[in-house]
Symmetry: C2
Subunit: 370 residues, 2 copies
């Protein structure tokens, strides 16, 4: 159960940047909050509720054709490092790992499908949190995946539903559809042209919200924004997803326009910014994760603008995930105290960028000499 | 007279880093201030004094075997760009070019030997300023060169001398020997270990002084310090030079010790600093001269510590001189307004570093692919 190698790519399918607009929209995520009738949920749930829920989920795997082969990871039985890796891949939440206490509560688990990029957190804030994670802007597809998963689970399990409110959830903000759809966007153009404030204000006005890279309450770093719906009640899932999709397409257009403006009005400053970020990533001997993300932002912009022609979005996505602490520790086979971790991160980034081919000083690319 | 190509390397011999300790002591300079009897000097000198002095100097060239072939550049007849190039090579001073007025006064000239790295500024603050410029720490040699030049000139010209004070100069601080010997030192180790304040205080206590890269009143950038004697009176030239030499050797030892401490106690931070500087120089698209000098400081330290093994001190010296504005304009064949000049500087540095061989991400070096 502790061996990540059994499903090494799990949660990493989106890294391949195969989805539409994947230079601007890194990934699409849809999650549904569901609870089971007959078991207390949220803060009122007890150990026996949670264990019963976990048993029910386990029983479904065996019955369902779609979920067959899925693996169920009880987090308390998983090593702390693997817990953190699951967190860094966004397959589990801080809460599911026990929050500040750092010990996963009894019954906390994650169900990982091996057939498609879906998963279910068990006994998080709600009994079940179904989620899908795809590359680029693929809201309909991501919704379709969790919708099918929900149908499958709903066929076997008694989901808590109120004829007036819809699906019942632990937190009232999730009642109704229980749906949160979100896209992780990279918006350096809007930040550099200082239009981002206006755009974010606009999102709020149409019922959307944004957060930083690491979910609720996290700061925005590296010009990465998670944009998602705020309301879950009173609208059909398709409408919520369709609305978000429409607005995100607009934001993509704004971002593309801002990049065009940058290249037209401040090409030298923009290029300089991009190449400096590349130069630091290529040669620094120590990188904090926050600095890395900020530098990746510049390099990602350069890749998207074809100023760093040989650098694939796939590589940049990979760096983002694998340069997180637990992933670096996994690679090193041991814990990495802070200064060492920053050194491993820098070394990893240098190796990846070197493998991608040396981008030479004037922009031509050549393979690294032996 | 305007064609630098006739003596393209003039003033640049020291760049080859052939002198002792040339990774720490970039260059040694000795100058002698002299005036001619029978002509007012300093602020009291008139156009006819200055023109008479210039004529006398011209007449000496023809008579002297040692100076034969030397070229005399009347600065008012030299293009503004060439004037600036001479300044950037430290062959003339701001004052000789007319200071803030920017127009060289009548009679202002520089005599450039083609036989050795000596030159004479004519009609600067004093009638004659004899100087020599050598790579590394070579105070005795540099003194020997100006001493021989002075003898040659003194044989033909009546130098103003007072039996009690010695050689008379425009400014009383130069009276006596008229000698200023200075070495341009790179002291990043002492700066990073924060010992520099103590060392500079020590210099003052033994009658020495320091200035920034660009002479009196200039700020210290890039950890480059010009260390020179303060007094010129009451001691023999050999003693002044010998004293400076002795102290500079001590400072070199302090600097080497500080570098040793850095490598031992903060190797990661030191390496990171060096490689980041290299990464920025290698890829930036715009560099101010001040930023360049600061980054060169890091890279120079790395080269000296063999952390950037393929980077020769010669290359770093060359970058320092040729990335100055007038040199860049000369290469471009036209004036370069500010943002363009910074772009040309960055491009020049990238080209030079690329030619030196790619220093790869992990410190091995390989020649740049075509």
């Amino acid at each position: 159960m502790d061996d990540l190698a059994t499903i090494p790519d799990y949660g990493l399918g989106w890294l391949d940047a195969s989805g539409p607009s994947s230079d601007i929209v890194l990934s699409t995520r849809v999650r549904l909050a569901r609870n089971l009738q007959g078991h207390a949920f949220g803060p009122r749930s007890r150990v026996n509720d949670r264990e019963a829920v976990l048993s029910l989920v386990r029983s479904v795997i065996e019955k369902s054709s779609h979920l067959s082969g899925a693996s169920l990871w009880e987090l308390a039985k998983v090593s702390p490092r693997t817990q953190k890796i699951l967190l860094e891949r966004r397959l589990v939440s801080e809460d599911l790992l026990g929050g500040k206490k750092g010990v996963p509560p009894r019954g906390a688990a994650v169900l990982l499908s091996t057939k498609d990029p879906t998963s279910v957190m068990v006994n998080e804030e709600d009994h079940l949190r179904l989620q899908s994670l795809l590359s680029g802007l693929r809201l309909q597809d991501a919704w379709g995946l969790v919708d099918r998963l929900e149908e499958e689970l709903g066929n076997e399990l008694p989901l808590a539903y109120h004829h007036e409110f819809g699906f019942l959830t632990s937190c009232p903000t999730n009642v109704g559809t229980g749906l949160r759809a979100s896209v992780l966007m990279h918006l350096p153009g809007l930040v550099l042209t200082k239009e981002i404030g206006q755009v974010l204000k606009g999102l709020n006005q149409v019922g959307l919200t944004f957060r930083g890279l690491y979910g609720e309450g996290s700061e925005v770093v590296g010009n990465f924004f998670q944009v998602s719906n705020q309301t879950t009640l009173g609208k059909a899932e398709e409408d919520l997803v369709g609305h978000l999709d429409q607005i995100v397409r607009q934001v993509i257009q704004y971002e593309e326009h801002a990049r065009h403006v940058l290249l037209k009005e401040a090409p030298a400053v923009t290029e300089d910014k991009i190449w400096r970020a590349y130069g630091l990533l290529r040669y620094a001997r120590s990188l904090s994760f926050e600095e890395l993300i900020n530098l990746l932002s510049g390099v990602r912009l350069g890749s998207s603008l074809k100023l760093l022609p040989n650098l694939r979005v796939y590589t940049l996505n990979k760096i983002m995930i694998y340069s997180q602490t637990a992933h670096l520790e996994q690679a090193a086979g041991r814990d990495l105290p802070l200064p060492e971790c920053d050194a491993h991160r820098a070394s990893f980034v240098r190796r990846i960028l070197a493998r991608e081919g040396v981008v030479t000083s004037d922009g031509e690319s050549s393979p690294e000499s032996p």
